[in-house]
Symmetry: D2
Subunit: 341 residues, 4 copies
Amino acid sequence: MVKVGVVGATGYAGLELLRLLACHPGAEVTTLTSRQHVGARVDELFPHLRGVYDLRYVAPDALSACQVVFFATPHGAAMAQAPALVASGTRVIDLSADFRLHDPAIYKRWYQHDHTCPDLLAEAVYGWPERHREAIRTARVVGNPGCYPTAVQIALLPLVEAGVIDASHIIADCTSGVSGAGRTLRENLLYCETADSFHAYAVAGHRHSAEMDQELGEAAGSAVRVLFVPHLAPLIRGIHATVYVRLTDPQVNLQSLFETRYAGERFVDVLPAGGCPDTRDVRGANLCRVAVHRPAGGDTAVVLATIDNLVKGASGQAVQCFNLMFGFDECTALDAPALWP
Amino acid sequence: MVKVGVVGATGYAGLELLRLLACHPGAEVTTLTSRQHVGARVDELFPHLRGVYDLRYVAPDALSACQVVFFATPHGAAMAQAPALVASGTRVIDLSADFRLHDPAIYKRWYQHDHTCPDLLAEAVYGWPERHREAIRTARVVGNPGCYPTAVQIALLPLVEAGVIDASHIIADCTSGVSGAGRTLRENLLYCETADSFHAYAVAGHRHSAEMDQELGEAAGSAVRVLFVPHLAPLIRGIHATVYVRLTDPQVNLQSLFETRYAGERFVDVLPAGGCPDTRDVRGANLCRVAVHRPAGGDTAVVLATIDNLVKGASGQAVQCFNLMFGFDECTALDAPALWP
Amino acid sequence: MVKVGVVGATGYAGLELLRLLACHPGAEVTTLTSRQHVGARVDELFPHLRGVYDLRYVAPDALSACQVVFFATPHGAAMAQAPALVASGTRVIDLSADFRLHDPAIYKRWYQHDHTCPDLLAEAVYGWPERHREAIRTARVVGNPGCYPTAVQIALLPLVEAGVIDASHIIADCTSGVSGAGRTLRENLLYCETADSFHAYAVAGHRHSAEMDQELGEAAGSAVRVLFVPHLAPLIRGIHATVYVRLTDPQVNLQSLFETRYAGERFVDVLPAGGCPDTRDVRGANLCRVAVHRPAGGDTAVVLATIDNLVKGASGQAVQCFNLMFGFDECTALDAPALWP
Amino acid sequence: MVKVGVVGATGYAGLELLRLLACHPGAEVTTLTSRQHVGARVDELFPHLRGVYDLRYVAPDALSACQVVFFATPHGAAMAQAPALVASGTRVIDLSADFRLHDPAIYKRWYQHDHTCPDLLAEAVYGWPERHREAIRTARVVGNPGCYPTAVQIALLPLVEAGVIDASHIIADCTSGVSGAGRTLRENLLYCETADSFHAYAVAGHRHSAEMDQELGEAAGSAVRVLFVPHLAPLIRGIHATVYVRLTDPQVNLQSLFETRYAGERFVDVLPAGGCPDTRDVRGANLCRVAVHRPAGGDTAVVLATIDNLVKGASGQAVQCFNLMFGFDECTALDAPALWP
């Protein structure tokens, strides 16, 4: 049993890790940390875990006894603690943004503070198994992808790898459920102000676009620029990406391109031609369902992708990385069907 | 008091007409028709109208005593009944698609049957007050705009009139609440399959795009082509349009362009620069709130527009046309603030 | 025009007052106060009010120029400010609990602090028009009923007045929408923790039961004890009360009793026998719909009552009192139909 | 591997069976029947099952090759097919009402038609493991409890077994999510008419009360009468029962009574004193969380119970019975934590 610690197990992503790891035959969650709740039992704060976990939150110094620590924290926490953990032989899977962007300057531009461990950043692997599977297996530090980037990048990867689109004019119009904003006390996340409501936000620029540009640029071998506009919808879970690209190769068979690229991928489901994936069809599941369209045979392709932002968009993908890092079958604890309806 | 008839007052748009007209000092709803429910009292079928209306549904032949008849019906019904009504001096406001598309051939392409009264279609006025106000005043037949076109066209009108965008590459990424699908018995409109769910549909082509191309093309004075992708979100009411356009004039002051175009319009609210309209802010109100962005100062502008699909997107706009047609102040019965939260 | 001030116009009840008063021909909202937001424009904080109000929040000392001040505040605020306002001739309508309970000792028991103006409390009128209409007309201070009590008391009033039930064993099982909890930053009011969720709370005792016991005891002329259990449901608006009473008079005609008692009441709608009112049927409307059942002809009657907690359960009822106090028709600004769907 | 057939695998309970059985190491779903969809692939109709099942629906005659058949059908279907299946050695777990009520006369009273196989009814076991565990192990036919009865009976069982309440005056005030109404095309189950809405129904009498009276009467050893009032709330899943009972033994220690009764039960969780279970805390889980209160130390106890109506209230409980019938650990495929949030 791999000894596992979770930092931030009072937020939605951290709690989702606990849900998934509870069914993992090779992982034992031994340590939960919370500065605010040291001493409290997790199932007293979160009664849905009664009968599943009876751990108490402890202070962060207990983490070094773990073989792996997941950080499900706001940015800044992981890079503060990771160097010491790694030095003591503990591997790190960071669900925050601290180890996603390779370039510390870009990190600083979007997060307004210096990266405090650029050396570790340099060796960190971006935890996107569909592209970096082998590197993840041996990584000491994994930077788990953001929720929006997971959906958008899966939607675009076959296209940029094949070089069949205008990479400077990509539009990613995305919609997220409210859990994507975290367990944060803000008026606009209250039920009354989110239910029966829909709006765009961060139109001027969103941190996740840096990640998309980096990963897709690497895959393309040249610069990629995604115009990314996020929206908030009254869903608990779910991200839907509608991606618009201008085709530069009018002959390309899009359906075949996607099916071929994702043929061996257990967690990417390419729908038959004409399909429209629904967020409900991935609720609770570690899965990206994707479909590609070319309306009226024109020069613009439309790719649709859906994930559960807390699973394939966060904690499920983190467990997928964990499985790779510790030699488990990649699907372990990740094969439950969606909760439908 | 203008005597008003409503055909289809068992659907959401028809019932919304009744809600709005109940507060209109110059309109008297005298006739409700329903083949299925002849003889039933409207407030028995719809208890929210207890104390507001005690009419019984009657057969359609009673409509000729009305000065105006609203059709809130599926397509086909209005064009079957309108000629006789108009001949008898009754004016028609059609909320369906029967009198929106000027060209019968285009109508047939999208609705799969011939238009049965092309003469009346030729004189019908498209009921978009922000563009056709004067023609509406004297129209005998008004084709009320669709819900999506209302939002998309308001978002694009200043841009196409000014000729500052590439009119052949417009993307309208839209999201609708469920009432936009009508009071239709389909599994995918059941609560359990719509709540906590989000998906695109009709990516290959949606009837409303014909209307957008027609109206915006007329406003531009040349062909306009909108790539329109609709989505369904778990909202009762609301449409949100996110429109992406490539600017051909990099010097244009977008904020000023929008504020100037809509300066005198009571039912279009241009938000201050940087704003993001929310569907909740127009819930129940006859209002389109619109905002224009230019992310990172690039060549793509993003216009956001929100309406309540049942009000400015259907019945409210129809009452706005009614006010114009019968000499009332355009705001009569339409000035209630949004229901918030 | 009556000059109106609103204290607490940043919460849901205060904003609902603004919505309703915007359509009142005899009221002019001149003053909004907020310690936190002095100087801010209300329509900047709340864009749904753009085009409706352009007031700025001011400090509380500006209220004395108003003829009436509504308090839509947490308990404690109204009793701190009311004495000075009343002394200067300003009338007060308090939506909080400060002026509801006649006995300062009972107030202290439930709210854990002394009542600071018992003299004003002694003259305050409980703002329940269906029982205290005449006293409200001349009141200087009105204590507007709580949301749950409004529904429960309307459900029980005919029964306790007629003396046909066991007044010591009444069960009021109630469900509220989330806006009833106010615009409060608590994790359990976040969208993700309220959507798709239902639970009871305050089973050991809720402050509103004191109010029910007081008002129903007065109406009965003897002690009444309501066992009140509230629940929270994923509704924005709405309260549903299911009240169970043991009948002491097996001959009573319940339907007739209710219809007779509420015959002249514009804002209480007694459904036909067998009806089940739905919260959606009163959404946004100042209305209580009520139905009375006697399952299997047994000794227990079940009364169902629904209100919109922000309208008949708060701000609408306050405007109803305002209308009585200032000589307007009781329905002024309160006759809009429900927003349905 | 036990060969399993599912009749009605196009409804919510049938699909939930597929979800749960997909993770069962000892069950193989071999046969899905549907008259309407013979020949269609289940994952074409229900894309959330892509990658999980690739079965096609077949005609009912294929069921006899199964060792067990689950019926997730409207009442009437199971009793039509069960006799032949049982005769051929196939065991039956019926999620409908056909085998719940022991007395054919009571069945007829509530379902308006004769029971067509009273002999099989006589031997059928009511599939409530917490009371009939041993009988279920060897049953040929199991009548799986209804959703409401599951919650209400678990809430009441300790009290009626102990004989500490007035069994003729029990009130069960219950609220269900919309999936409890099945995948049925009715206007009042459409999103727009269920979202943001709450109402009671069937106040005059609901079929499930017969089941409660039967099971609780047997447990009590004397007649029990439950006054049951159901409500519909905008939840996809979840049942909440608030049960009011008059105590006849004022000395009883309620908390201890419940903890003792359910000490060994894996799927009943008695909350600590003062707790209020939330439907979200059992979402997707085969669990009833229950709490017992005695407000103000009075003569009335309030028991709260929550289940997921599709899991412990239907398909999960059916799998629990399956596990007992085929010698699996009772928790097999049923130990996943709740999906939260």
